[in-house]
Symmetry: C2
Subunit: 477 residues, 2 copies
Amino acid sequence: MSVPSWQQRPEDFANRITQSLKWIVQHMQQSGERSPWSALTPGELASRIPLTAPTTPEPLEDVLADLRDVIAPGLVRWDAPGWFAWFPSNSHPDAILGDLLASVMAQQGMLWTSSPACTELESRMLEWLRRSLGLCDRFAEGGAGGGVIQDTASSGVLACLVAARDRTTSGLASTRGGDACSGLVAYTSEQAHSSVLKAAGICGIGRDNLRLVPTDDQFRMDVRSLSRMMQDDVAAGLRPCFCCATVGTTGCGAIDPVSQIGQVCQKHDVWLHVDAAWAGTAAIASECREPITSGCELADSWSFNPHKWMGASFDCCCLWVADQRPLIDAMSIDPEYLRNSATGTGEVIDYRDWHVQLGRRFRAIKLWLLLRCTGAAAIAEMVEFHVELARSVEAAVNAHDCLVLAAPRSLSLLCIQHIDGDLATQSLLDTVNADGRFAVTHCKLDGLLVMRIAIGALNTDQATVDALIQVMTEASQ
Amino acid sequence: MSVPSWQQRPEDFANRITQSLKWIVQHMQQSGERSPWSALTPGELASRIPLTAPTTPEPLEDVLADLRDVIAPGLVRWDAPGWFAWFPSNSHPDAILGDLLASVMAQQGMLWTSSPACTELESRMLEWLRRSLGLCDRFAEGGAGGGVIQDTASSGVLACLVAARDRTTSGLASTRGGDACSGLVAYTSEQAHSSVLKAAGICGIGRDNLRLVPTDDQFRMDVRSLSRMMQDDVAAGLRPCFCCATVGTTGCGAIDPVSQIGQVCQKHDVWLHVDAAWAGTAAIASECREPITSGCELADSWSFNPHKWMGASFDCCCLWVADQRPLIDAMSIDPEYLRNSATGTGEVIDYRDWHVQLGRRFRAIKLWLLLRCTGAAAIAEMVEFHVELARSVEAAVNAHDCLVLAAPRSLSLLCIQHIDGDLATQSLLDTVNADGRFAVTHCKLDGLLVMRIAIGALNTDQATVDALIQVMTEASQ
C-alpha cells in the first residue's frame, strides 16, 4: 500500500538512518583532520544554497552529498581533539542516541498530563545529578525545592532573576510592572557571564541596576565590597533582590566564595543564584568537588550545563531551586485550555511553570542514556584526565621564560600571557590558531589580553595537548 | 587499541544506533495501538527508577528494555492517528534525521564565527520558509529585517515585546528599568495565547498593563475596541508599545484582522507582532494562504512553529522581523570573550543577539532535511488533506441534532458543543477520551465548555476521523 507523500514508513525511516550512518561515522572520524575553525568567508556557504525551497522531494544521497560538500566546510569542529576555545560543548554518543529517541517519542512535556514520562524522568534525572554532584538536600526531588531542565543557563538565570524580583516585590513586579520594579538592585561580579546583564535588561530591573562587584587578585567576587554595596543600597532606600555568584567564571574559571556571599545575601533577604555552567560538571569527580559545591546550602538556585563538559549535547541546563514556590508564582499561567485533572490535584509537577517557555522537549532522556550507558564514574575519570592535561600545560608555562599564567589554573582552564604584553600574546594566539590543529579564544584580565586554553573536548588527548605545548612554547621566544 | 571509558568509537556508535532501530521502528508502528493518553498515575513511573545514577555502564539492551517497560507506559502518543488534543506536535522522520545530524555535528551557533554553517543555513532556511509561506519582502534575508529560529513561540513573543518596549523607551527600559517601564501598555485579544501575558509579567511592563481586547462573534480581535483602548491610553498619558495579533487562536483558531490592526498600530507607533504558531504552517498550501499572511506587510514581527503542524520536531519556532535593529539593540551583549574579527566587520549575523539565549543548537538542519527530502508540495498536500478531514467532521456536526460548532471551523480545528450545555459536552469529551483511540482536549468559548478537535497528526487518516465521528455522534443523543 502506498503511503501519502508526507508520510514515511517506519522501516523506510530506519533504512534512511542506516544510509546516513556512513556519513556520520566518517564525519566523526574526521574530527581532527582540519583546523577546528571554518575557512569560509561570510556569505560563501549561503551562496551555494538556492534561495527557494524545493517543491518535490530530493533523494537522500543528494542531501548527504551536500552535507559533505556544502555544509561541512562551514562547520566549526567543536568536537576536535584540539578544541580549546570558549568552553567545550560536547555531544557524547550516548546523549546523541538519547536525543534521537526523544525526537522519535515526540513528547511535549509542558504538563504532567501531556507527558508523565517526560515530567517524572526529568525530576529523577535531576535527582541523579544532584546526588552525583553532591549538591545539598534542599534541592532534592520531592521536597520544597527540586530541579528542572532549562535550555540554557541564560534562560535559567532570567527565570531566577524574575522569581527573585517577584519575591522581593510580593509579585507586584509581575502584575503592575513599571514602578513596582523601581529601586530593585541585583549583584554579580565583574567577571560574571554576560547573561546576567542581559537578564537584568530584559526583566525590567535595568542593566544600570546590576552592580558589578569588584573581584580580588584571583578574580573572585570580593565579599566585603558586596556587603558594603548592599548596605549602601539599603541605606539609599533601594531594594537588593538578587545576587549571582559564579563557580567557574567564563574568563578564567574563578570560583566565587559562595558561603560568604550566601551569608551576606541572607542578611538582606537577597536571592542567591549560583552559576556553575561550565565548572559544575567537575563536581562529579570527588577530587574536584569541594570548591564547586561549597556553600550551595545557602543558595536559592544553582545551575550547571551538562551540555558543556559533561557531553549531554546542546541544549541542556540543569537548574535546582531550594523553594519551588517563587519560581512557579513568577512563571505560572493557567489558561482554560491547559487545565486538567492531574494539575487540579496539585500532586504533579507541570514544568511549564518552571521557565519562560510553555512547550518542552524530552531532554531528560539523553541524560538517562548518558548516565546509564556511560556511567558517572567514566565522566568523573574524564574530568580528572582533563584536569591532569591542564596540569601539564601549567607546568610547561611555569617552566617557560616568556609565558605566565594570568590567573591560577582552574580545573582544566588556563589563562596564558606572554610577558611582553598584548602584542606578543596576540601573536601567540594567532600562531596557535593558525597551526591548524587547535582552536583557542581570548579574554581580558586586568585589562590585559589572555589566551584561554579550555581543555574538555571528549576526544582530546595527551598527544594533542603535547603538540599544543610545543607550538605554544616555540612561538613564545 | 582500547578507548578511554568516556569515549566511544564512531563505528561502535553506529552499531548502537542500529541496535536501537528495532525499538524505534516498533515504537513508531505502535502509534495507534493504545490510548494516546498514558494510563499511569502520578509517581508510578518515578517509583520504577532508582534514586541514584549508576556508577558503571549498563548494556544498551537493558536500557532499551527499560525504555519499553518503564518509560513507554508514561509516554503520551502525540504521534497517534487519533491525536486531536491541543495542537499537533509532529516529528517528521526527515526532521528526526536532521536533528540527529545536528547532534552529531555539535555546533554551537551563538556567533557566525562559532558556526558559519549554523548561521548561514538558518538565514537561508528562514528565507525558504518565507517564500514557501508567501510572507512579505520586508522579512527577506539580506534586507533590514530577517528571520531567526527561536525555541518556542513564548521566547519569540518575549523577545519582540522587549524589543518593542525598548523601541518606545529609546532603550531606557533596558538600561534604567523600573520607572522607565512605567506607563507602558501592550495589547492582545481575550483569545490570545497565555505566553503574551507571561511575557508582559517577565519584562517589567506588568500583566495588568496588557490590555485584553474584546473579540467579535467569531472570537477575532475587535479592531474598534483596540483603537478606542489605544486612544484612551494615549489620552491618559500612557505609552502603547506592543500589540500581538493572533492568526489561529489556541481556543478556536480565530484569525485576527491583521491589516486593520496594523493600521491602528501604525497610528500610534506600536510594534505589531503576529502569532501564527499553529496556523502559520497552512500558508504553505496556496488554498489556505490568504487569511494567514494577510496584513503581514504591516507587522514588525511574525512567527510560527514548524514544530507543530509542519513536523519539524520540537523545538523550532520561526520568527521574522521587519527591522533587525530594535531586536538586536535589546538583546545584544558584547563581552570581551565573544569578540572576534567576523563580528567586528559588522558583515555577519550573530544570532545570540536575536533572542534571550546565548548558545544555540543547529536547528536549521532539520528544516533543511524536511524541506529537501519531503518537499514543500507534500507538506501542502498534508495541510489540505487535514482540512478536508476537518470538513467531514464539520459536516457530521452540522447534520447532527444535538451537536453544534461553537465557532466556525478554522482550517483543521473544530470546536464542538452539545446543545444541552456543559454537562453534556463534558460527557462527550469523556466518552471520546475513554474510547481508547483518541485524545481530545477542551476550551471555553463565551464561558461555555467546548470539545476541541485539532486534526493534524502526521499519521492521521480518514478511517480514524470516521471512527471519531461515529463515537462522537453516537455518544450525543
